[in-house]
């Protein structure tokens, strides 16, 4: 077990979850629709895809640093459990919004991953 790697991921996790919490404070709770989680999840999808597909970032960072940012920070910045709980909460009050939340999260997540991939590939062309 690589203790250094685990601690690096943990530190990344601290930063990512504080970022997610910060966003949830910015979107103060007046909306019925969970914009905060959606925002964090979509941004995180873009960032992770960009990072994983970029031709040179991985070589420039140490293994610990790269894993801390990708699995630690971005992994913790996005969340699935809150998404699931919010969906069921919405389901009881507004079924249509719940279905919309699921569709926008999944399809939007895939689109943002794709955009991240494309942006990373552009970096490859320019080099």
């Amino acid at each position: 077990m690589n203790i250094k790697l685990y601690i690096a991921i943990g530190i990344g996790g601290m930063i990512g979850s504080m970022g997610r919490y910060g966003i949830s404070i910015l979107f103060t709770a007046d909306h019925e629709f969970p914009f905060a989680t959606l925002t964090a999840n979509l941004i995180g999808c873009f960032l992770l895809s960009f990072l994983l597909n970029h031709p040179s970032i991985k070589q420039k960072l140490s293994h610990e640093m790269f894993t801390a940012v990708s699995i630690g920070a971005i992994g913790s910045f996005t969340t699935f459990s809150t998404f699931a709980v919010e969906t069921i909460e919405l389901w009881s009050s507004n079924l249509l919004l719940a279905v919309g939340y699921i569709l926008i999260s999944i399809l939007g997540g895939l689109v943002f991953c794709y955009v991240g991939f494309k942006a990373a590939c552009r970096g490859q062309v320019e080099q």
Binding site: Y6, I9, G10, I11, G12, G13, M14, I15, G16, S17, M18, R20, Y21, G22, S24, N41, G44, C45, L47, L48, S49, L52, T67, I71, G72, I74, G75, S76, F77, T78, T79, F80, S81, T82, F83, A84, V85, T87, I88, W91, I102, S105, I106, G109, L110, F112, C113, Y114, F117
Partner: protein, 115 residues
């Protein structure tokens, strides 16, 4: 104070997710297990918090911090996109469908039984 609690939860949550994905050693399954079990735990904590059985600081630490970091959406999205790129449409569909269905059923069941 709450940022500190979230950070502490995020530290342990992300390490647990990484530990499980290493143990399982298959990428999709590791994320799947973390997302389903984390959704279960968050639903339980949510009920305990709403019924005032646990204090707010514990909800912030374990719910927002730990469960939030233990589960992940970005890896889920990227794994799905990789499956689509590899033209493994069936696996991609089953992965998304089963993650959604299982997490929602688990959360719904916890809410239904305890609320």
């Amino acid at each position: 104070m709450s940022f500190f609690l979230v950070a502490l939860g995020g530290f342990t949550g992300s390490i647990t997710r990484f530990y499980i994905s290493n143990k399982v050693n298959k990428r999709l399954i590791g994320t799947w297990i973390a997302n389903i079990t984390g959704s279960f735990l968050l639903a339980a904590l949510f009920i305990l918090f709403k019924t005032e059985i646990i204090p707010e600081w514990l909800w912030v630490l374990a719910g927002i911090g730990y469960c939030g970091a233990y589960t992940t959406f970005s890896t889920f999205g990227n794994e799905t996109l990789q499956l689509i790129f590899a033209k493994k449409y069936k696996i991609a569909f089953s992965y998304v469908g089963s993650s959604l269905a299982m997490s929602l059923i688990v959360v719904f069941s916890v809410f239904y039984i305890f609320m």
